[in-house]
């Protein structure tokens, strides 16, 4: 498995491909066809062609996903899990096929290790509630949870809540100047009291790819469990939980070209088996009596209530789409986009790239000297370019970086080198106007 997404090409080689985006793609990667698969991209914004560079917030959907969702509603929709009628069987089977698709996407051993959730946030909250508060697995006073300085609020606040409730301590693993995790500090912070370590696979601000396998090894030597926020990794990297060695892995459907409101949590089978339910309701029970209830085995134990049926089916269609394109081909193309963006933006006087980790994926944060990121974002929007400006739900990281906010351009499999050029030209214009 390759977790490096930078193409091997040297800077000069990349530069020669500028301006001929479609032609520059590898023969196996037909960018024009890919773009044609995404109906939304063919529109204008403020009279200019849309350039969508906010993929880290959410990605657009290929026709295959739209069709899968519409097809579910049109042809075989019913509630899942308990119907004896034909439609219920079809819908249930489609959702379980979707679970199997997620299993292959993350490299889990069995589909029982895949819990459908609403997204990464819910997945992490599930672990914090069920594992973190379970009778057999839960935290006690004095225990420790480690997070990193680059975590999204969704991989920080659930742990703060847990620690407050349990009298446990939250420790923060710092990052270095490049925006890489300080592994020496992680080693120092790991202790016999460490119970849970929560790490982003890819930082949503810095783009840093964290060495999850190495971290997992360190964490397991201390007998703790590793929870990985894969929201920014799943769209860009090949995820293989067996090779990563993590205990939990969470990702969102809407960032991998699937629908919003659906995501998945991978949990190691024996951990899920030891964890209590976190929400009660239909679908998660074995036998219910007023005197007491026994619970279904994982993953149903963690899926109370009527689930997002069409979401799971849409997610599977998105993963099919990604895997048909080829995760490696996508990663190579996005690596070129990222490298070209870093070169173009990095060459503009007064533009500072935020984060220079040796391994990065998917996105680029930057600052324009003397211009607030919100002004950058508004001006780019006026030019048809969608980026994100703000703290990116990582306020503590903004403090570490000593910036109020950044502008973030994030790439998807349909972006072109021409779009990167347009971004760079627009940022140059921003500088001129506000200077």
């Amino acid at each position: 498995m390759s977790r490096t997404v930078h193409s091997a090409g040297a800077g000069g080689a990349i530069a020669t491909t500028a301006g001929s985006a479609a032609g520059a793609a590898a023969p196996s990667y037909d960018l024009e066809r890919v773009r044609a698969d995404f109906p939304l991209l063919a529109q204008t914004v403020h009279g200019r062609p849309l350039i969508y560079l906010d993929n880290a917030a959410s990605s657009q959907k290929p026709r295959a996903v739209l069709e899968a969702i519409a097809g579910c509603y049109r042809d075989y929709y019913a509630n899942v899990g308990r119907g004896v009628h034909r439609l219920a069987q079809l819908a249930t089977a489609a959702r379980e096929r979707a679970r199997e698709r997620v299993r292959t996407f993350v490299g889990a051993a069995t589909a029982e290790e895949i819990v459908f959730v609403s997204g990464t946030t819910e997945a992490i909250n599930l672990v914090a509630h069920s594992y973190g508060r379970g009778r057999r697995t839960g935290l006690a006073a004095g225990d420790e949870v480690l997070v990193t300085a680059m975590e999204h609020h969704s991989n920080l606040v659930p742990w703060q809540l847990l620690c407050e409730e349990r009298g446990a301590s939250l420790r923060v693993v710092p990052i270095d100047r490049r925006g890489e995790l300080d592994l020496a500090a992680l080693r120092r912070l790991l202790s016999p009291r460490t119970r849970i370590v929560a790490v982003a696979h890819v930082s949503n601000v810095l783009g840093t790819v964290n060495p999850v396998a190495e971290i997992a090894d360190l964490v397991h030597r201390r007998g703790a469990v590793l929870v990985v926020d894969g929201a920014q990794a799943a769209p860009h990297l090949t995820v293989d939980v067996a090779m990563l060695g993590c205990d939990f892995y969470a990702f969102s459907g809407h960032k991998v070209y699937g629908p919003s409101g659906i995501g998945a949590l991978y949990g190691r089978a024996e951990l899920l088996a030891a964890m209590p339910p976190w929400q009660g309701g239909g679908g998660m029970i074995e036998q219910v009596r007023f005197e007491g209830t026994t619970y279904a085995p994982p993953p149903q134990r963690f899926e109370a209530g009527t689930p997002n049926i069409e979401g799971a089916i849409g997610l599977a269609a998105a993963l099919d789409y990604l895997m048909t394109l080829g995760l490696n081909a996508v990663a190579v193309w996005e690596g070129r986009l990222l490298q070209w963006a870093a070169e173009r933006l990095g060459a503009i006087p007064g533009v500072q790239l935020v984060g220079s980790a040796r391994e990065r994926a998917g996105l680029l944060s930057f600052l324009v000297e003397g211009v607030h990121p919100h002004d950058v974002g508004t001006v780019l929007d006026g030019l048809g370019i969608a980026v994100r400006a703000g703290h990116h739900c990582a306020q503590p990281l903004m403090e570490v970086l000593e910036v109020p906010a950044t502008t973030r351009a994030s790439f998807g499999l349909y972006n072109t080198l021409d779009e990167v050029d347009a971004l760079a030209t627009a940022v140059e214009r921003v500088r001129e106007v506000f200077a």
Partner: protein, 184 residues
């Protein structure tokens, strides 16, 4: 000189030359020694922070200044607010804020159009912020300094800066100004 955003997808409506100029060279920027009132406006969502200082005598703003960091809209708004308010009575200040707020939210002026025409003071150069109404996400930028001003005035006339008289002020839900102002 850049020439602004002429021809740039309507951006010149938001970033007019007056606004760009005040962003480049904010007026009345810095602390105000001898201020009678002050308060901090803070927008945690974008990290903007502006501190407004006032010297109020006999119900009139004799001196006003600000400092802080923010986007072009919030910086220019603070700068132009200080220019607009020097010498104004507190009642004139209140009506100017109402008129300005109505302008940037695209809402009709507080008491209706007749009131706006008859009662509100001329917005004058502040009319440059008329384009903000098209950008709902930026309304809170334009009003940040004004909310800080309100907070400072509400903190009590007897307050001396740094005397511990600062207070949190309520924020305006309709402007999305969550936690817009806080104590210093």
């Amino acid at each position: 000189m850049s020439g602004g955003f002429g021809g740039f997808g309507g951006l010149q409506d938001l970033y007019g030359e007056v606004i760009l100029d005040h962003n480049r060279r904010p007026r009345n920027f810095g602390r105000l020694p001898g201020a009678s009132h002050s308060a901090v406006g803070y927008n945690p969502l974008c990290g903007d922070r502006v501190e407004v200082y006032l010297r109020v005598e006999q119900g009139r703003i004799e001196e006003i200044a600000f400092e802080g960091v923010g986007c072009a809209i919030s910086t220019a708004s603070a700068s132009m607010m200080t220019e607009a308010l020097r010498g104004k009575s507190l009642e004139e200040t209140r009506r100017l804020f109402e008129g300005f707020h109505a302008l940037v939210t695209g809402a009709p002026a507080g008491g209706g159009a007749a009131d706006a025409r008859g009662g509100a003071p001329e917005l004058g150069k502040l009319a440059a912020f008329g384009g903000v109404g098209e950008y709902p996400m930026r309304v809170k930028c334009a009003t940040l300094a004004w909310h800080a001003l309100q907070s400072a005035l509400a903190s009590g006339a007897a307050a001396a800066p740094g005397s511990g008289s600062e207070r949190e002020s309520g924020s305006e839900p309709e402007s999305g100004n969550r936690g817009a102002t806080g104590s210093r």
